[in-house]
Each structure stands twice: as C-alpha cells, then as structure tokens.
Subunit: 319 residues, 4 copies
C-alpha cells in the first residue's frame, strides 16, 4: 500500500481542515495509508508524523485554523535539516506529500524534490490570493467575508455621522483582498501595492462628492502599501474629517470556513491526492477557467502573480 502525507506550511487559512479531512478519508477509501505531519516543516524535521484514520479527522470541517498546525521553518533552509526531514519520510515509507502553503513553502519543496526526489503536490493556500497560475487560493473566500462583515459594521456607524474610516486589510504584495473588499462594500478609496494612489485625483473626486452631500468616507488599504497612517492623516487634514483607523490583522485568518472554502478544500485534496497516485510529481494544483489543473512547481515559483486590473477596471474600480 502506498503511503502519502499531508501538512500545512506557512500562514494558515480557513479551509485547510476540509482538505486534511478529505485527504485522509479518500486515501483510506482508495487503499492508501494517510499520514499527518504536525506543525509543517518543523514537525517533519522532528518526526511529528502519525498515521491517520477517519476518527482523527472527524468533526473538524467547521473549525477555523488548521488542526495539524503549520509553521515557518528556518531550519529547513539548511541542507542538514532537509536530510533529516527526508530520513523521517524514508523511515515511514512515505512516498509523496500534499503541502498546503504559499510561494515560500513551494520553493522549499521544490528544492526538497530536486535533492531527494520526494514527490509532492502543493495546494495554494493563502488569504492573500497571490500565487501564480491559480485564480483561487484556499482561504480567500472566508477572509473576504470576514473583511466584508467588518466593513458592513463600520458602514452602520459611518452613515450615522460624518467621519472617515480607514481599514487596513492583509496583502503584503497583492491587493486582491483589499480591492475585492473595497468593491463589495462600496468603499470610496482603495490603496493597493499594484497601483499608485493619486491623491490629487482622489481629492477632486471626494470634494465633488462631499459638495453633493457625502458625509463619510470609507477607505480600504492593503497593509503592503504601508500608507494606513498617512492616508488617515491626509483625510483628516484635507477634508477636516475626524478619521478612525481599523487594523483587522489576524482576525482575517480565522473563522469557520465558508461554504466555498470547504468545497475548494475538498476539491484541491481530491485532485492533489489523485495526482500523487499517478506518479512522480513536483506540481501545484491550480484553479482556473472554472476547473482544476496542475502546473510544474518551477513555473509557479518563477513567476509572479499579477492582479487582473482589467477585470477591476471593468467594474469601474479605481476610476
């Protein structure tokens, strides 16, 4: 019987539990022995690996976070520890890995595959939605809805009296979360790393709106722009609006996974496991054009995700 393992790596995201559960349940159904690696690459190095059965993954679908943990591993940059990691897999006869993670984790796995020939399939998992080749990363939908709920709550009080609100959301290099959130909540301003914000144009536009009766301003800022504070001061100074800042932080990573992230977690896991069964793999499972596919890891990590500005523009966004 084949033996495959699953692990989280890097930041966690809602929906990981659905993938873990489906990986285990489906493997057992197909006569594969499934293993869980606790706490990502750190746990792999330390051999915190256990064979799983149905009971290990019962009742986890509706939980946020990732029941098998995750980590960022500095040790794994060192070949010595990668060798240890490989030996841990060897000792248990594990031939392939499913890795829930992002760019950094995939790069680490690529090297691991080159050095030791370990098969793996990556499942793109990050609320930043910034992985090349896939239109969707596991966890994004839940995060979008968490941000949406926060913005809806702010809207309640915004419409009560005149103020400006600046809400910082996650996204170090990618403005996807910020842009879609701003769109869906009707924010007046959105700052993302991909687009230079034109303060003059924005001032003219807002002045016209305020003259026409606008009483409040809602701004969504991607953390990667590092402009949360300066935008707040600008709003206060330029429009004499009392301005309040919200920094959502890790609230965005938690919460019971949305319906879509549970389904996506299942589907990613089915495809990833099936791909491992088919033979040597060093791939990422991607979602595009409404379906699932695989890209060689090299292609994924050597390209950069770019936000579809045409799509946003079609929606009159940032105009």
């Amino acid at each position: 019987m084949k033996r495959f393992a699953i692990m989280g790596s890097g930041g966690d995201a809602p929906g990981m539990n659905a993938a873990v559960k489906k990986f285990v349940d489906l493997a057992l159904m197909r006569g594969i022995r499934p293993f869980l690696i606790q706490d990502g690459l750190e746990g792999l190095i330390d051999g915190r690996i256990r064979e799983a059965n149905h009971a290990d993954v019962a009742g986890i679908l509706h939980r946020g976070g990732c029941v098998i943990g995750s980590s960022r591993s500095k040790r794994f940059y060192d070949k010595r520890w990668r060798t240890v990691a490989y030996e841990q897999l060897q000792a248990r006869g594990i031939e392939g890995l499913v890795v829930l993670g992002g760019d950094g984790s995939f790069r680490a796995m690529e090297r691991f595959h080159e050095e030791f020939g370990v098969s793996f399939v990556g499942i793109p998992t990050t609320i930043d939605n910034d992985i090349y080749g896939t239109e969707y990363c596991l966890g994004v939908d839940t995060a979008l809805n968490t941000v949406r709920e926060a913005l809806d709550r702010i809207y309640d009080t915004a419409s009560t009296f005149g103020r400006a609100f600046v809400v910082e959301v996650m996204g170090r290099e990618c403005g996807y979360l910020a842009a879609i959130s701003a769109l869906g909540s009707g924010a007046e301003i959105c700052l993302i790393p991909e687009v230079d914000f034109d303060y003059d144009v924005a001032e003219a536009r807002l002045r016209a709106q305020i003259a026409a009766g606008r009483r409040y301003v809602l701004a969504v800022v991607a953390e990667g722009t590092k402009q949360t504070g300066s935008l707040a001061r600008w709003l206060e100074k330029t429009f004499s609006l009392e301005t309040r800042v919200t920094v959502l932080g890790h609230v965005q990573r938690g919460g019971a996974p949305s319906s879509r992230d549970r389904l996506a977690g299942f589907e990613f896991a089915v495809y990833a496991l099936t791909r491992l069964e088919e033979g040597e793999a060093a791939h990422v499972c991607v979602y595009r054009d409404g379906g699932y596919d695989f890209l060689p890891i090299k292609e994924v990590v050597s390209n950069r995700y770019t936000l579809d500005l045409t799509h946003l523009s079609m929606l009159n966004f940032l105009d």
Copy 2:
C-alpha cells in the same frame, strides 16, 4: 440617450442589490438613462417605474432582499396585461430590460420579446441554482453559507448528546443546495430529488458507524423530495434515535449578501448592460468555465438544469 430598466422577478435572492446598484452607476457613467421597475412584472404593468440616479442606489450593497422588490405576476400571463406593460415601457422610451429572475420569469420575458420586440437580458437569480446553462445563479453562495451556519450550530449540540437531526433546505427540483450543504457540513445523509435514496444501503452503513461509536446522525433533505417527515420517522424507528427536525424556510433567502454574491451581482450587471447596448437581445447571461457568456433565451428555457452527479461522486458524495 438610451434608456434601459432593471427589475426583479420571482423569488428574491441575496446579491440583487449589488446588480441593481452596478446597473445604475454604470449606466450613468456610460451616458445611458437607467430606470428602476418596482415590484417586478406587477410594477411594470402598473407603471411603477422611475428614473434612477446614484443616490437611489447608495448604501444598498450590504442589505439582503431586493430594494426594488420583486413579484410573481398572474396578470402577465394575459396578453392584455402584457400589452399594458409594453405601453408603460413605450411611454418612457425604455428600449431594453435587465431581468433578475429564474426560469419562469425568463419564459415570460421570452414571450414578451416575441410579441413586442422588447430587448432583455436575464440574470439567473435563484438560491436553487437550477437554471440551465449557468454554473452559478446569483444568491446561491449566501444561501449556502446561511445553511452552513445552521448546520454548524446543530453540530455543536449533536456532538453533545446522541440524537438524529433532519434539516430541510430549499430546492424544489434541484438538490444543489442540499448536496453542497451536506458535503460541506459532513452530513451522514442527504436526500435530493435527483437521486433515489436507498434506505437499506443507508441503514447498513449507519449501523456499522453506530457500532463503531457514532452517536448522532445529521441528515440534509431538499424540500422537493417531500421526505423530511418520513426520514425523521425512519431514523427514530430504525435506530431508536430521538430525532429533531429543522425547516429552514425563507431564512435561506435573506441575510447580507456574501462577498461572492456582491461580486457576481456586479459582474452579471456589467455584462448584461453591455449586451443590451450592443443591440437586440433575448438572452440570459450565464457563468461557466470561470467566465461570463450569453445564451439565447430559447436555449435556456427549453432545457433543464441537471445536477453534476459526477462531480458529487468524485467527492465521494452519496456513496
């Protein structure tokens, strides 16, 4: 300047407000005069139609329901009233309609188009997700999450002590909502109109699970099967489990639209409006293979949506 109108028709669904807002805002940006028809075909007949500006659709994105109302119209089956409806449009110079609705509404519009040449584009809107040619209908994602939250709550109490829970969800002819909800919540049983439920197979499977320690059973039933009561009695009798029934009803249609339904509402509206601008239309805007497209109304209403059982089976559903 061209004049187009938008209206809801049939059952309401979350996300309609996003479509209405985008229709108005985009029309104004493109130099089109947008009109709102209140309360669907009934309002069209009675001439409850008003030209809209940005202020009319401000602050509606986060609201459930449909701010312009909707209706089912018996009068519209009568040619006399359709003639009145046509005259209402004529009197205002309205050349095209965007209709948020389902099969029944589209059929009505098809006849209206044949008789009077009124252009229209339908936006598939129903939480049943049962319209031919589109993978997604506006409102489904919000409904899925509402059902999910209810099932998550039941799960809390299910795991506290031994019981069976039967939850009836919407879906007269289509089991999509029930099937995806059951999947995402790990329900043990799911009854949908498309599949004959094999009580003997289910009994054997559950008996094995109960013998192995299972203490509760969660069942999701599509209302269209009309088996909610009989399934509850069967569970009670067969397994001696105290069985409780939940009928979610219209709770499933409400709630602030999810992030996805807001975005889908925007996108459907952009495509629909653009299609109207391009000339005579009697089409439905559909979402498939990850993008938007148009199908002739005839094709949509003369075919029947079929649930993708292969996909469900791939997820080991109903096995």
Copy 3:
C-alpha cells in the same frame, strides 16, 4: 482536599463550557480536586468520571454544546441505579456536585440528595428560561440572538415582497424565547402557551394595517402552542397571503456562546462552587434583581415559572 464534580443534565445550552472551565480552574486555585462526569447521569451511573486539570478545559470557551456531554437518564428513576451512581461518587471521594440542568434534572437530584445526602448545587441551564426563582437561565441569551438572526434574515426577504412568515421557536411550556424574539424583531404576531391568541382581534388589527400599506406579516410561535401549522393556514386563508413556515429546531441550542452566556457561565460556576465549599447543599443558584442567590431545591421544583406578562405588556406587547 475536597473533591467536587460537575456534570450536564438534560438539554444542552450555550455557556455550559464556560461554567465547566471556571469550575475546574477555580477549584484548582482553591485547592479542591475537580472531577468531570461525562454524559450526565448516564455517565455518573457508568462511572465515566475523571479528575480534571487546566489542560482538560483549555480552548473550550468559544465552543457551542457541552464538552462533557449531557443526557436524559431513564435508569436514574430506578433506585437501584441511583445506588450505583452514589457508589461511583463514594469510590472517588466526591462530596458535592454542580449540576447544569433544568427542572427535571433538579428533581432527580433532590431525590438523590434525600436518599444519599449528596450535596449539590444546580445551575439553571435551558434556553426555555422556564425555571422557577431565576430571571435568567444559562444559554438563553445565545438562543435569543440565534433566533434574532434568523428573523432578521427573514425580514430581508419579507420586505422584498408580500408574504406571511411563521417561525416556530423552542418553548414547550414557556413563551419567553418566543415573546422576546417577537418583540426584538418587531413581529406582528406572537403565539405563546401562556396567552390565548385571539384570532378575531388579530384579524381586525392586521386588516387595518394591510389597508394602511402593510405588505407582509411576521409571526413567531412557541412550539408548545402546537399552532404553527394552523396559524399558517389561517394567514393564508384569511389574508390570501402566500405563507412560509420556518421551524428552527435545534439550531437554537447551538452556536458559539454569546458574551453574556460566557460571563453568566463563569458567575454561576463561581457561586455554585463557593456554595458547595460552605457545607451541605441542596440548592439552585439563581439570578435575580441583578445578582446571584440560592434557593432550596424544594422551592424551585415545587413552583412553576411564570412569564412576567406585566413586563411584556409595559412594552405594548400582545396588545
């Protein structure tokens, strides 16, 4: 060192986990050995009792349900099994019990105390809020908010088009949950076991409202009235309103406990444990006049909770 145990009994309710956690943490702090009885009286009889430490109750505050389970026990009606239960406590040196439950459970404990002298303090726990002597039962606030969210969702769709909605909520003999929910959601009709619903008066009132523009009717019905179906038919027949029924069922018992139920769970547990420390007890911890107190079990089980109709009337409810 003293040894006390805690258990759930009867229906579960949100907030029980907070009480369990505080019971254990505080006992350890005070030099008491805390025990957890699994699955209520059934677990007590079967000796599923384990000593607890901080780790056993970590991370449970935000979970719905009750981590130590609960049950209704038929065996406990039989003196033979009560003797077994007593011996289980004796064997472990457990001198007192905290029991999270309702009337039925308290009655069972009263007899248990009379026969074997086992000290106990009851914490009133039921979303029905129908226990004599206390203004608040653990779990009610979470249930009220769950019902509220469902009614808010229905309101969204109700205002979209003309219909009647009948929502059945829990409450076999007590209309508290139904009445407060109806009040807080502005329902037009509320049926509770304590008040005879006057169909004629209601008809006149609704006819006047419909004449003045009302388009929908929202009705909340306590399950104990058994009038859910007949009210729906009456609405349909009398006002020709398409009428939809929702039966919330066990959805009302689940969900992450509200802030208030967590605090109440803590407070009840602190008072209950403290009371056990003070010596022989056969009491229920009650909340009234803004504070906590104790009533002899005899007083609690021999009186019946009555809904404060004066209070409801002051709020123009049911007028």
Copy 4:
C-alpha cells in the same frame, strides 16, 4: 397634546434605533406627539426636527447605527447657539427631550435645562459602559459580542501556530469592554486604564505557562492605556514570539443590535418617556440591581464611573 422629541448625541451605539422606534410608537399610543431631531445637537440648532409617525420608524430595529444620526456639537458650548436651540423647541411646542448619549451630552443638557428649563431624560448610550450610576449602557452587549467574534477568530489561528496577538478595543477611560472581552475569550493578558499592568508578574506567569506547553498569547488592550504598541514589542522581545496587532476601531460600534440591546433600547425608552410625562425632569434613566430607575443629572455628571474590580477579581481576573 404633549410634544416630546428624541435625539442621539455623541458616539453612536447599537440599540439606539430600538429606543427611537419605541419612543415614537409608545408616544402615539399614549396620545403624545413625537418628534425626531436629526443629527443631535447640531440638528437641534439648525431645526432639523420633524414630527414622526409609525411609518418613520418601521423596519429599523435590525439596523446598526442610529437612523436619526448623532453629532458632537461645538456650537452648543456657546450660549448663543443654545438659545437658538431653545427657540427651535419653543417654535414647535416641544416640552421635553429624550437624549441618547454619554457624559458629555448629559453635561450639555444639564446646562440647557438650567438655562431654559427644558425637561429631559438621558438614556445612557455608549459602548464604553462608563456612565456613573448605571450598570448598563445601551450598546455594550452588541459591542461585547463583536469583540468576542473577533477574538474567537483570532483564537482559531492562534491555536494553529505559535504567536502572540494583541487586540486593541475601545475604552478611553474605562476598561469594561476590554476586561469582559478578555475574560470571555480566555485572554492571557488584559490592560485597562484602571489597573497598572505589572510586566514582571506577567512575565513570570507567562514563562511558567510557556514552559508548561503554552504556544500562543492573546492580549486585550483598552485603547485608553495607549500601550498597544509597547505591549506588542514587549511580547516580541521578552518571549521571542512573532506578535500581531489588531485594532478593532469603529467595527465595535456597528452591527445589527443584539437581542439584549433591542430589549434594553425598548425599556429605556418606555421609562424615559413615562418620566417625561410625569413632569419636570433633568434625569438619567439608569439600570441597576436588575431594574430601571432615575438619577438626577447632577449626580450622574458629577461622579465618575468606577469599574467593579471586586467582581472581576472574584472571577480571578487579573490575578
């Protein structure tokens, strides 16, 4: 017929709409003419005052914010503008006011009453819960639950991998919101303005917990301590824990009012209106010992709210 008006003043809070609705509905039932003052004292000065009927307050119960707006008024500090405000009331024959607000607003009203003899009853409304003489201020329960949901979400990701989380909540001078939130979510650290945080004691306690297996730290900080940043740096430096900050900001003021805040809004409004009917008033309606009462405005504004540290201590909080 008597004429009374209602207005919001200062920061908004969930539940204000319930009070506004009950004020109007009850006044009409009692033969009083109810008026709504838009945007607080600013609207009073400018005469944005309109008589209200049932339709004006229909469908507002489930909305966050305050439909009649609110404001902070600098002009009202000037006797000239207070005179204008008085004349606005005189011109409409309005004899009494219900004011939903906090300390600052009550102080302004006290002077207004002294100068012009205008009767008023204040309803304590602030999510800070920091008004003297009342145990409960309208809006607190909803805010507590909003904070709780954010902390529950962070808990999901906290338990996935080792980190520290610092969450800043509202409360300039009062730690109520922070303290109850920290308690209800099992936070390890809580900083409030009323208590000096002992870093050495906390360090020793956390070191012991980390040695015993603790992997993450959750800290709740009241904004009034101004220690959010310094605490985050301390956690990072002292325990080498990657530390993430969340600043909830105005998210805490929004959201559909909880069941409790709707009921409290109703009750406060009933008592306030009734008090106005009884004759000259310069009072605040307070909730204590489980019931409602009135305190002279002088007593309320000349005393300072103090957090009940004994109660918190009883819950082993901050020990």
